[in-house]
Amino acid sequence: MEYEEVLKAHRLELRRGSVVLASLIALRTPGYGYGLLEQLGTAGIEVEANTLYPLLRRLEDQGLLSSDWDTSAKRPRKFYSVSESGTQMITDLTAELHDITTAMNRLTDQEQP
């Protein structure tokens, strides 16, 4: 397989988990799906609409997000916000990410004599 393809696959694996944490963090402020999409994009998290929306549904099924419909505008829009267990999840996942980074640094230091 070409290097670019292999790189793309591994980058995807690396980033896949981070979209969850990023979404949870961003939704500490309640937001609409599309707004979140733009917000993540601006912050540097690459995610496509057809990945994010099903993900938000799943996070809601897992109890990490709660949703509601905003009927004030001309067309109803669904907005999400992070729940209590979602907030806890942010703390736990951030710690996890930190541990991973620390481990990587340790390994890198060991590599260099």
Binding site: Y32, G33, A49, N50, T51, Y53
Partner: protein, 324 residues
């Protein structure tokens, strides 16, 4: 008038379960509207924007899969290889036997080679499709009802024998193959009488002499049962020993002895079948049928001798191993 968006949302949600449809539909409408709006404010026309937004979202089937909660495959990674292995084994065992029976029965009925070949090919297709279907259905049901963690824990003792080593050991494939063979043979003995594949004028005629049911067929079935029990006991023991080799010798003597006696005394085939064969071959069956019986008898004796010898060889090989 249904818009492109309506058609897209319908295409996505039709694959989803009833209960999710309205919710996903509403979300999709919102999402597409937002995407379209963003594009319009970038200067695209409304129609173009809508179309491009849908292209960006991807094919409806691909999107539906992302929204779908259940299993996304018929047979998953856990069971796939097992399904493939067992289906291949069953195909290789069952299809040739059934096809050969079909060809034989067709030849008996019509004495036409082309009809027999037709029957053979037809049986190959039909049997193969049946095996494939039932195996696949079984594994699909397993996939959905027995998640991997519910399976009994794997034990190293059930490992298959590495090829070429441990000839004295008894593995699952040996045992299962033997049991299947015994089962099919017993099945044949019973079915050939009640629902024989051989048909004359539309009526099924037994292949073996019905008088054999008085003594010999029950005796053979009892022997097959004894062999099945022996196979299971042997499997439990894990390897061959001198006593199992001797017992194997006894079973072979009994089975070969009974079969050979019946064959040489021309007690095997049913009178109707003999008559039919006679008709098909122009009255010459009296000359060559006994010869065929003798050949079969010789083959049975040779196979039995080989089986006995192999039993003793395996017993000797097993004794060489440090453990057991």
């Amino acid at each position: 008038m249904t818009t492109l968006t309506d058609r897209y949302v319908h295409a996505v949600t039709r694959s989803l379960p009833e209960k999710d449809r309205s919710a996903v539909s509403a979300e999709l409408h919102e999402l597409i509207a937002d995407l379209t709006l963003a594009r319009v404010s970038n200067g695209e026309t409304e129609t173009d924007a809508e179309r491009e937004a849908l292209v960006e979202l991807g094919s409806p089937d691909a999107l539906a899969v992302k929204f779908y909660d259940g299993p996304r495959h018929l047979i998953g990674p856990r069971y796939y290889l097992s399904w493939r292995r067992w289906t291949a084994r069953l195909l290789v065992i069952i299809v040739p036997i059934v096809a050969a029976l079909a060809a034989f029965s067709s030849w008996i009925a019509d004495a036409s080679a082309s009809q027999a070949i037709n029957a053979f090919v037809g049986a190959v297709f039909a049997t193969a499709i049946q095996v494939l279907f039932w195996m696949t259905l079984t594994y699909a049901i397993l996939e959905r009802n027995v998640p991997a963690q519910d399976l009994p824990p794997w034990q190293p003792e059930t490992l298959p024998l590495a090829s070429g080593e441990d000839r004295g050991q008894v593995g699952w494939s040996d045992t299962i193959a033997t049991l299947v063979y015994l089962g099919l043979f017993a099945l044949f003995l019973v079915i050939q009488h009640f629902r024989s594949p051989v048909r004359v004028d539309g009526e099924a005629i037994p292949m073996l002499d019905p008088q054999l049911w008085d003594l010999w067929i029950p005796l053979l079935l009892a022997l097959l049962a004894a062999e099945a029990v022996f196979t299971l006991v042997l499997h439990n023991m894990g390897s061959w020993t001198w006593s199992t080799a001797v017992f194997n010798l006894g079973l072979n003597i009994a089975f070969a002895g009974a079969s050979v006696w019946l064959l040489l005394n021309e007690r095997v085939l049913s009178p109707e079948l003999v008559r039919v064969i006679d008709e098909q071959t122009g009255g010459t069956s009296g000359q060559w049928v006994p010869i065929v019986m003798q050949i079969v008898a010789v083959v049975i004796v040779m196979i039995s001798i080989w089986d006995v010898i192999e039993g003793f060889i395996k017993a000797r090989e097993a004794r060489k191993l440090p453990s057991s």
